[in-house]
Amino acid sequence: MSHDMIDRSLFEACAVLPGWNQNSRLEAWQNWQSMAMPTIRDEAWKYTNLARLEKIAFVRSPSTPSTLTLSDIPLTIPEDRFCFINGSFNPALSAPLNEDSYLLSQRAWPLVPNKLHTPRSYFERLNAAMLSDGLYLDIKSSTNRPIYLLLLQDKTVGSSQHHLRHRIKVHADVKCEIVIVDWGLADTTDLTTYLIDIELEEGAKLNCTHLKKAAMKGYHIRQTHAHLAKNSDFNHFNFDFGAKLSRNEISAHLNGEHAACQLNGLALARAQDHIDNQTQIIHLAPKTNSVEQYRGIIDDKACHVFHGRVLIDADAPDSIADQQNKNMLLTSTGQAYAEPQLEIYNQNVQCIHGATVGDIDEEALFYLRSRGLSDGIARQLLIFGFARNILESIEDKNLQNELALWIKTHLALDSELILELYEEHDHEDTL
């Protein structure tokens, strides 16, 4: 099997990272080479066609330093941040590294690559072979200040490719918030693969919001795998603003009793975007709880795929799982595929799921217009209202507001309208 898209010279140009010997890397490369690229005949890629990707000849990431600055990102970014540009760590834009936050390129990385998640799939193996760097975050004490992880792609010459792998460990009883921002400015056809391993020890709580605004023409493939110990709480919010191909694979393994996860997502697809969300929630211990809510707003000729697997193991009695997927099609040319997949091996559990694909509710539109709102405002209200339910599940109110503005810009909604929706929300808090 040969893959023209990543030439062997690109692999050979990859730096040798500590904790890796070139043989294991070569093994990863060979493993990847031995695999065929998934096609639409593969169940997991049924609605996402990679055929065009194979025809692209990717080049090395540029060695010239990027001139990107934080002001290129319309988001308030605090001091507690770590920034990668085109797959390389950028110390100038990052907080100092220390014992609790260090790079894969700096020292031997414990537990990499195989401890938590063995690369098996096509893109995981590619990531393992071509990995350039990654951040290890070892969070030992609770903080109210969110940590930002910025994964930026600047403009490059030719089709470049970036592969990063990060690991986040939240120690027992520690509560924290992480915001991951994928921001792409490239106007070329880039490929990025990011693999993020998350480990929550007993009683830990992590709110992790992932915003992705990838480059328009980009192929962006991300895997997030979370492992949850007893009494831990993982809240993941996946906001995807679209790309030529954006694939998010997220898994949460509820390994300990009373572990709970919330996986929420909002896909805002327009033009010819293709957003593919593949989630897995695996209940492996008794009294585990999962809530999942994914929504898609699909405009123009865009497409949103949601495949949500929930598995409740025989060893997970008294568990509760609730999965909802709703899609709003704004045009007749947009597409949405909703595939819930429940596998329940214990009778003593509660499991609810629902999936819908529909247009803007005409009855709701008429109702609002009969109250004197114009057709345009009424539509915007219904679209934003649909997104708002997901936004509201984020605890961080500042982030909620910023995201509301992103959504507003992305969907070209009336800004005053959105601000007012939030003003009134703030009002509620003060009552």
Binding site: R369, S370, L373, L382
Partner: protein, 252 residues
Amino acid sequence: MLTIKNLHASIEDKAILRGLDLNIKPGEVHAIMGPNGSGKSTLASVLAGREEYQITAGTMHYQGTDLSTLTPDERAHLGLFLSFQYPVEIPGVSNLYLLKSALNAKRKQAGLEEMDAIDFLTIVREKMKLLHMDDSYLYRDVNSGFSGGEKKRNEILQLLLLEPSLCILDETDSGLDIDALRIVAQGINLMRNEERSILLITHYQRLLDYIKPDVVHILSGGKIVAEGDYRLATQLEAEGYEPFLQKKAGGD
């Protein structure tokens, strides 16, 4: 003043209204009663501008303006308000936001300044008190998870706030228990004045025990078949629709 002449309307090529005539003067309360399928709700929908209905003949004018040329929001700006038989749930949009933007849309149309949040809250709370509604209604999503009675009360709240000049109440009494019916009827009675016209669409006479209409019309087969004062409703309650349906009398 609402003037409807020989109105014919259909949905998906099925004729529902077949020559309906109706005149409502300022300050009058009219009730339209009729059996299921007689066209009561179609009349309400056509007046409010629901797009699925086609007007195939006849005219409807309000204050001299041809309603059929106006969009639903333009009709609302003209002073028309429809209280829905089945108020729609709108997740993600709070009741407060809907009330405020509806009121401000109307004020803007009338050349008035938008009302600020404090003034607005004062007024809306006053109206809510009349309907025995607590503050939580404001912050809940529009009609989401509301009981049938709560939804109807919410319609009347909008009515009190927007102060339309023509109120069309489609089966407002359905789904209400006696206490809620009394509260809702009180709200509607508060709205009665010399300028405002009210059209009550109802299947049963019980709402008319609380709101005494000036004129009662009986609708059957898409046209008015009988008219009278409030006593017609009482007669209807005693005798049923059957005797009226036998008559071939058109509304005059």
